[in-house]
Symmetry: C2
Subunit: 256 residues, 2 copies
């Protein structure tokens, strides 16, 4: 997708939306969608409010848009079903269906490592072809979103890139060593601190990865997204090869 | 699971529920759940009415049950989203969540070949590890159900067998050559008549496959289910090897 195209960003005020906006506000014509009322448009931007759980609202928000970066979700890995259902499942259906109706050409979908979170216990390196093993209802919802993306890309004139994002801390939290703690869901340990370091992705690498996904000519793909960490548990060789992703950061730089 | 255990069958009055009931009514203690009011209990059976889209209703229906055969769904491959959402997505969540709450030991889940329907165009033989390529929202909902089943089996004391059922015609339609027509979704040809023959599963093979799934000690598995057709497009070698399925029928017997 060329420079200057109009891109709708859902979840624009979230951990991933903010760094992407900061890095590419001048490159794309961004339409920022958020449930928060606090966003203010910078020159060249639009800010809109829409209900992700309402198809008409989402369709209206997509009017005149060439590409969508779909980040809106309940992103807590322990989110309860009602939120998962409304935001992640119904919301993601609404995004793809609105994209089809409006004639959007590309959707970049924020999937998650949690789609195969439990494969991490069994494999040294988990790639896009690892068995589906969600560690949470959140992870299940991301498998659903990937399958839905595949369906829309196969059957309609829509390119879909699904990013299984590692661990992006968001704005103001550049140094992972200060913020990363082991991840529990209830009493279950999902990821140790070491594994979370290995799946860290810096804010600027995250922004670049979305940009590369927007630029890609692929009809469909599922790609892991982490920084160029020395110790990796997710395989980004296809992300580098097929999307042209060039990570600039490395978690070990922050670790003593 | 041993003979005589109490098994809840959702969708008991459907194409798959009826043959399973006929074959195993005397083997298991069946609790038949259906939205239709026309079912009547035979000796040793119970018939209940419950709303698959309501968690409390489903939980109540599962009281005292050791295993669940979850067949209830909108089974039309062109079903619209509202039905898919309520029956297949919310309904399937309700079944797994109720099973966890009640302490059910086993869920046999009716998945579908449509989860990977479009892989059929690219591969000669599609097995459980083929790329996820749903041909419909119906297929997407079945991918969701499999992922949910994996999550529940990995994290709770629940064994889950997902059956990617081929094409089961249901009661009164024994001869596939009389009933099979090419499958279109809208204008898109999904399966030719030849492919539908190749994925046929007889009523008694279908019933046996559910029975073998109930008997299995596996914690989780995804298996294709077709009869012993000479020309196959789905791989049932693991179904035979790991579930002990022994198909007795063959589509070619009916084809001149």
């Amino acid at each position: 997708m060329p420079k200057g195209i109009r891109v709708l960003v859902t979840g624009a005020s979230g951990r991933i939306g903010i760094p992407f906006r900061e890095a590419y506000s001048n490159y794309y014509s961004l339409r920022l969608m958020s449930h928060k009322k606090t966003l203010e448009a910078l020159p060249g931007e639009e800010v809109i409010s829409a209900d992700i759980a309402d198809l008409n609202s989402v369709t209206e928000a997509m009017n005149g848009v060439e590409a969508v970066v779909h980040l809106a979700a309940d992103s807590k890995s322990n989110a309860p079903w009602d939120f998962i259902l409304n935001l992640n499942i119904i919301g993601t259906y609404n995004v793809f269906e609105a994209a089809r109706k409006v004639g959007v050409k590309k959707v970049v979908y924020a999937s998650s490592n949690h789609a195969c979170g439990l494969s991490v216990k069994e494999l040294d390196l988990v790639g896009p072809d690892a068995p589906i093993r969600p560690d949470s209802l959140y992870g299940v919802s991301k498998v659903f979103g990937e399958a839905l993306g595949r369906y829309y890309s196969d059957n309609f004139n829509l390119s879909v890139i699904c990013l299984r994002i590692g661990y992006c801390l968001g704005p103001g939290r550049e140094d992972p060593s200060s913020y990363i703690k082991p991840l529990f869901l209830g009493k279950r340990l999902i990821y140790t601190k070491e594994k979370l370091f290995a799946m860290w992705i810096s804010n600027r690498d995250m922004a670049q990865l979305i940009h590369k996904s927007l630029e890609s000519d692929l009809k469909f793909g599922i790609f892991y997204g982490i920084s160029d960490n020395v110790h990796k548990i997710f395989d980004i060789s296809e992300t580098i090869e097929k999307l042209g992703y060039r990570p600039q950061d490395r978690v070990e730089y922050y670790l003593k």
